[in-house]
Structure formats: structure tokens, C-alpha cells
């Protein structure tokens, strides 16, 4: 009992629930056989990783739009390694697709994290705009507008991951890894991140090396985005600039804000619901964008905590259970 409470207080209830949900999601591939559902679940897992990347930066009150840029770095790293250098071992590829964006983020972070508030937001948006251009302009490395197609199957424990169910399992495992990393980072550096979010200047004057923790957060956020890029590239079996458009950054921001930015459950719930909803309206891609837009406006005006925040507010009231049940 003693260990249970201390574990709970050390990790936090929301974090434990998130980890439990992701662990149990590992069982999904064994129950789901419908191709459309498998594809939807895989997309949700990728969305979760992208949203977690946004969530980490929001811990420090920084809104990031560069998630697709880091996804592209991670995805292309994996694609180039597997197509050109015959690296198919899943652990090597995962390490590379996390590590390369992480390393790229270090010098980039020194540059962009000097920017405060809105400047940071604008610069990350520009980064996301530039990444597809960079991919188009470097055809020898990235295949330019053709992208890199025909990725060989990733091998895990000597077994190739080929069919869509196995890819779903891999993406779920990646999302679990991303969740675990996020939990570890946000719990270990919680005081520092909160101090930066509440009042960076005050924190600094009390001796907090704010830039150091901002770099940590930025690098891990980039690494998790890289994992999402790797998963996306594996799902599509190709790496193409169109998968990493600047506009898609809005989706990851929407998942996090609509789901709820205050708790790690927010990105999970937001990604699951919004990816599901946009698949529901998949007849017209534009309609789902508009739906995201309306949800963002509603979340900002009426429900600051997003879906998770609303549920948390409703919970203690007896009437609420009827409301959520119906």
C-alpha cells in the first residue's frame, strides 16, 4: 500500500492512467482485424506522438508548430537508413529516428529558444514551412519531389513487420514509448518547467537555468516528433514531402488543445477523438479542418481545459455521471 501511494504521488494519477491506457492498447492489434479500423488506430497512434510533442513544449508555455519538420527529419532518417544502407533492425531505426531530430534540435534550440513567446511561435511555423522546401531542394539526399519509396520491411527480433496489423502493433509500442518518455521528462523536470511557465524571469532571478531546461524539453519534443515521423513513414511505406506539410502542424496543436493541455491525458484523448472524427468526415478533407477550427474556438472560449478539463470538472457532481453516461 505504501509503495502504491508513493508511486502514485511520484508519477501522478493522470500519468499512470495514460501509461495504463497505452499498455492495454498494445492488445488492440490482436482483437482488431478490420482493415479500416487498423488504419484508423495506426493514425491515432501517430497523432498521439505528434500531440505529445506539442504537449511537452506547452509545459513551458511555448506553442510549437514545427512538429512536422521534426517528423520529417525522423521519418527521412529511417527511410534513408533502410533504403540506402540496408538498416532494417527496428531498434536501430527507432534510436536513429529519435536521436537525429534530438541532435538537430540542440543547435536549433540555442537559436530559436532565445525568442520569447510569439517570436518563438512564428519561428517554429517558419521552420515547418521551410522543411518541405528543403526536401524538394535536396533531391540527392531525400529524393526531392519523388520522395523515397519502396521501404523494406522493418525487422524486429528476426521477424519482418510487414502486414498492417504488425505495423499497428509497432506504432502502438512507439506511442507507449513516447508516452513513457513524456511522463519521465515532465515528472523529473516538473518544478523547473512549472517555474518557466509561471514566471520565467522570476525563476531565472532565483537561479534557475531556464535555457537548459528549455533545451531539454525542446530536444525531447523533437525526438518524439521524430518517432511519429518514423511511424508515419512505415505506415505509408514511403517518405514524401507531402506527408509533412506545414498545415499538418495545426492538427497536432488541435489534438492537444481540444483534448486538454493541462494533463497528459489531453493529447491522448484529443488525438483519438479528432483523428476518428476526421476519418468520419474523410469524404471531404476540408470539412474536418473546419471541424477542428470550430472545436478550437469552442475549447478556447468555453472550455480552457479541453475535453479532459471538462470531464474533470464534471466528475465530482452527482448529476455529471448521468450526463456522461447518456
Amino acid at each position: 500500500m505504501q509503495t502504491k501511494t508513493s508511486l502514485l504521488s511520484r508519477i501522478g494519477a493522470a500519468e499512470l492512467i495514460a501509461l495504463a491506457v497505452m499498455v492495454s492498447a498494445l492488445a488492440l492489434p490482436f482483437f482488431v482485424s478490420n482493415a479500416a479500423t487498423v488504419s484508423l488506430l495506426t493514425q491515432i497512434m501517430i497523432g498521439v506522438m505528434g500531440a505529445l510533442s506539442v504537449y511537452i513544449m506547452l509545459r513551458m508555455d511555448l506553442m510549437i508548430f514545427a512538429v512536422p519538420a521534426f517528423m520529417a527529419i525522423g521519418g527521412y532518417t529511417a527511410a534513408i537508413l533502410s533504403v540506402r544502407h540496408d538498416v532494417t533492425d527496428v531498434f536501430l531505426l527507432v534510436a536513429a529516428s529519435f536521436g537525429i531530430p534530438f541532435l538537430v534540435a540542440i543547435p536549433l534550440g540555442f537559436l530559436v529558444l532565445r525568442m520569447r513567446g510569439v517570436y518563438f511561435v512564428l519561428v517554429t511555423f517558419v521552420l515547418a514551412e521551410i522543411m518541405p522546401l528543403l526536401l524538394f531542394e535536396t533531391p540527392r539526399l531525400t529524393g526531392g519531389s519523388n520522395g523515397i519509396a519502396g521501404l523494406p520491411a522493418v525487422v524486429a527480433f528476426g521477424r519482418p513487420i510487414e502486414d498492417s496489423t504488425s505495423i499497428l502493433f509497432m506504432c502502438t509500442a512507439l506511442a507507449l514509448l513516447a508516452t513513457a518518455i513524456t511522463v519521465a521528462l515532465t515528472r523529473v523536470f516538473r518544478p523547473q518547467f512549472e517555474s518557466i511557465r509561471e514566471n520565467e524571469l522570476l525563476g531565472q532571478s532565483l537561479g534557475l537555468l531556464a535555457w537548459k531546461y528549455k533545451i531539454y524539453g525542446f530536444c525531447v519534443s523533437a525526438g518524439i516528433a521524430g518517432l511519429a515521423g518514423f511511424a508515419l513513414v512505415e505506415m505509408l511505406m514511403t517518405a514524401h514531402p507531402s506527408s509533412f506539410s506545414a498545415l499538418s502542424s495545426v492538427n497536432y496543436v488541435a489534438y492537444t488543445i481540444v483534448g486538454g493541455q493541462a494533463s497528459i491525458l489531453g493529447p491522448l484523448v484529443g488525438a483519438a477523438l479528432l483523428v476518428w472524427a476526421s476519418n468520419l468526415f474523410s469524404l471531404q478533407g476540408e470539412v474536418s479542418q473546419g471541424l477542428f477550427g470550430i472545436l478550437l474556438i469552442v475549447a478556447v472560449i468555453f472550455a480552457k481545459g479541453g475535453i479532459v478539463g471538462v470531464v474533470e470538472k464534471l466528475r465530482p457532481k452527482p448529476k455529471a455521471s448521468r450526463l456522461t453516461a447518456s
Partner: protein
Amino acid sequence: MVEIVSAGLIGLSLGAQYALLALGFTLIFGIIGVVNFAHGGFYLLGGYVAYACVSMAGLPYPVAVLAAALATAALGYLFELLLLERVIDDHLSTLILTLGFSLVITTGIVLVFGPDAPLFQFPVQGVVRFLGIIVPLANIIVFAICFAAIGVAYALIYRTNFGRSLRALSEDRAVAEALGIRARLMFPLAFALATGLAGMTGALVTPILSLTPHAGEPVLAASFLVVILGGLGSLGGATLAAFLVGMIEAYAAVYLGGSKGALMLFVLVLIVLLVRPTGLYGRTARGA
């Protein structure tokens, strides 16, 4: 020689468009402290309103441009008054709100006008030849109107009581309000002025460039580049940076081709930010 001059002229005309867009963008930030992600959306809406006026209602083009400016200004006014005003002091919330609104505008346009690019041409065709230099007449007209509009915007901000009140609010809101300037009244008007400028630019420029439901995104990105370069909130910086960006884009398109121009701009922005993290004419950003 001829090539250099004509690329320069195209750069000037691009610069004038960017200046008009960036003026509105930086005005909203300077006065209200809001990063308007819907700026590209208002530009797009202006283009479509003008298109609808010309092709559906059969109005003459100048009337259509005016209608576009008024319609986007009115929408901007209502958006500020009804939605933005509720979360005005939280910079993250205002950002997400404008982002959501821009998605709604784009979707609305697709639902009403369809996803394909409509045929919307500038009413004046033909070119001007001078010393072997060929410039489309449309570009000259747009350049002249943009230039005049920039002048009017400057006069409005620096020569009228309205502008003085706005600048007072951006300098120090508390003191300005204590002196009797009503932020509640001025903020929606400032927002309307900025979105009206964006809508007018859209109505003027989309017939020359292109009118598609996604024409707003590159415009937003260009506005960002300009205001980052010029320094957020600085009108002079934005105007200067707009012409710089226009020139670089025009020369890069002629001499480098492809998307190298955009890449060069990015490198330029990075260098400027390395040296001056708040832009050429910048001051400290608001918020955390």
C-alpha cells in the same frame, strides 16, 4: 540590364503587397498584442468576395475591391468584439482562436465555392513597354494602389486622433485608458482596419497570382517572415522588411529558380535573428 530592372520592378510590386499585409498583421500585434493566424484567411476571403461580386453580381472591379475591404473589415470587427475580446489577455488563447477562425474561413470557402480555383482575372490586361522593359499593366496598377493604401494607413496612424489613440493604447494600455481612451471601442476598430487591409490586398492580388482555397497559407507565411524580419509591432520595420523580402523573392525567382528564394529568405531570417533576436526594428515581445 533589362532583366535586372524588370526583376526589380516585380520585387517592388511584391514588396508593396507584402507591406500592406504585414502592416495589418503588425498593427494587430502592436496594438492588441494578438498574433493573427487568420490574416491569410482574411486575405483569401477578400479575394473570394471580390470574385463573387464580379462574376456573380456583375459589379465593376473597383466596387468589388471596396466591397471586399468592407466585408473583411466588418467580419474582423465582429470577430474581435464577440470572440477575441473574451480572451484578449492570454496570448496563447488568442493565437489558437485566430488559428481556429482561419480554418473555419478556409472550410467555409471550400463549402461555398468548391475546392477548385475559379477563373478570376484582372480586368486590365496588356503590358507597358519602356526602354525595352516590359511590365504587366496590372502589376503597375496594383503597385500604385498598394502604395497609396500604405500612405493612407500611415496617415491614419500618425496624423489622426484615431491613430494617436491606437498608438497610445499600444504604448501603455493602463495609462491610455486612464486618460479616457476606450480600449473596448478601439480594439475592434483596429482589428477591422487590419483585416480590411488584408481583404483589400486579397481582392487586388489574387486575380494576378491565383485564387484557390489554399492561397492564404503562403501569404500568412510571408507575413510572418516580414514581421519577424522587421520586428513585431514596428510599422516602419514591417514596411522596410516587406520590400526586402519582395526584392529577394523576385531576384531569386529570376536567377536561382525553384524554391531557393524561399530558402534564402529563411537563411536571412535566421541570420537576422542570431544578431537581433527581436528583428530589425524590434522591441521586446509581449507575453512570456
